[in-house]
């Protein structure tokens, strides 16, 4: 077991061969597919490797085996309490759970950047998910060093406090359960690469399709797919369980653009206090205000004085 843990060193990652993909759809053409269900497709990417643009030789995608203790990771994922999240624009409800860091959402009374609730609800599970981010970053560094350099610079916009783990390329993550997501782009992210380990058992389908290259990644159990989900439209093929125990989970590690506005933890906490104070005042004012805008507290106070 100890040996497994010391795995997390760049030089221990297996060498991967290069493969080449031809662009078959422009970004605009691919964009037209957004919102559509992905058809049932055969895998075109089954071999682990670094997939590059046939013309420019630019790296497009890494498909690699998971590095580390997969059994522990699987156990963590299977123990994530899931919730149903409507994905409004796609007209789709996703069974998922976020982890890592989350930005402010004032419309939901979340006034500060914060760690997601999974960290407190299931700390061991959260830790197991977060642990993996470091190894995934190392995969990007080893296999596509120029992309790593680019993404590292982009991530300098985010305070270290709000990375999913130290020196990670990502701020946040989501565990998706058997989600045949329609075509979409990860518009809330920075334009950096996201990493997607998959675990599955006795579930067929559930492959990642990227129409711009007519690429369908097999997403085997214990595989990791890393690519630019902000730039390229992608979706997941339909799934077919072989029995009731079948499952397929994808875990996506991504860099949320909203996190660049987060201050240090201490400042965020101060900001939170201030916002809470404001909210309490607003609450009281609203509670004692009539429909005509009269503040009953003030009326009450002036009548006291009169008395």
């Amino acid at each position: 077991m100890q040996q497994e843990r010391t795995f997390q060193v760049k030089s221990d990652l297996a060498e991967l061969p290069d493969f080449y993909l031809k662009e078959v759809k422009t970004r605009d053409e691919a964009e037209e597919l957004v919102g559509q269900t992905v058809p049932d497709l055969e895998a075109t990417i089954t071999e682990y490797g670094i997939y590059r643009d046939a013309e420019s030789k630019e790296p497009l995608l890494i498909y690699a085996p998971f590095v580390g203790d997969l059994a522990r990771y699987r156990k963590a994922i299977l123990n994530v309490p899931m919730s149903a999240t409507p994905r409004g624009q796609l007209g789709f409800t996703n069974i998922s759970r976020t982890f890592g860091m989350a930005p402010r959402k004032p419309q939901h009374r979340m006034e500060t950047c914060r760690i997601t609730t999974l960290a407190t609800e299931e700390p061991a599970v959260h830790m197991a998910l977060v642990d993996v981010a470091k190894t995934l970053s190392q995969m990007v560094e080893k296999y596509v060093p120029e992309q790593f350099a680019h993404d590292t610079v982009v991530m300098e916009q985010v305070e270290e406090d709000w990375r999913i783990s130290e020196k990670s390329l990502w701020t946040s993550g989501v565990v998706n359960k058997a989600s045949a997501l329609p075509y979409h782009r990860d518009r809330s992210n920075f334009e950096t690469w996201s990493a997607m380990p998959v675990i599955r058992k006795e579930m067929r389908g559930g492959m990642l399709n990227i129409p711009a290259w007519n690429a369908t990644v097999a997403c085997r159990d214990g595989s990791v797919t890393i690519f630019n989900g902000f730039r390229y439209v992608h979706g997941v093929t339909p799934m077919k369980p072989l029995n009731k125990k079948a499952y397929r989970y994808s875990v996506v590690y991504y860099a949320l653009r909203g996190m660049k506005d987060c201050h240090t933890t201490a400042l965020e906490q101060a900001r939170g206090r201030e916002k809470r104070m404001q909210r309490e005042e607003d609450f009281i004012n609203k509670q004692y205000q009539t429909k005509d805008g009269v503040n009953l507290l003030k009326v009450l106070k002036s009548s006291d004085v009169d008395a």
Partner: protein, 241 residues
Amino acid sequence: MSKIADSLSGLVVPLSELKLLSKNPRKGNVGAVVKSYSTFGQLKPIVARKATGEIIAGNHQFLAAQELGWSEIAVVWADIDEKSARAYAVADNRTGELAEWDVNALIESLQDLDTALFDAAGFSLDELDDLKAILDEQAEIDLFPPRKGSALPIDVVRATNAANLEGNPAGIDYAPSYQERLEKYMGSAVRSIVVSLPLTKFAWAIECLAELRKQNDLETNTDVFVWMLSNATGKDIPSEE
């Protein structure tokens, strides 16, 4: 052309001398046998009833041989009556069905095979992955039990994360106990005072605090509280260091 092991040569007969078992209760996967025969050839004979030529074990092997264009196959002749023949045909399938795989050993047998041998063994990569997933699930991994409602501030999570990466194998001990968290809080530079009030007094207090903040150019309610204490007691506010 038939591909039959040399040691079976004395058992070889033309396919035309055999017939399929009528009302065979077993529906096999001929394609899988075709793959196996293509790769390994016939390494064990099928069994047929001597009196009728009816196959009682190996009907799908016979069909695979036909599909591969073989003209002959190795057969062991069984001199048994019809009832026994039917019983044997069932037993031949049922005994295999009652067996179980040693999943560990099976994975070991499969995972180093080249593609052709792997295919011939009758498993797909997906099925191999399924087997590995089952093994993973059986592994005793002590992700320690959930702690509902235990609030871990970010720095605690970070510190434990670092400890975890430095050699705590399964991350079992990373989460601080209640006592540890209490001690951390007691040792921290900031403490909390909580004031509970009935709603009307709460509303009044909020309004007063807002007024005092505005009048005295104070930023937070905490500042007002400290300022009031200082005014009421005449004591200086201690510096934060």
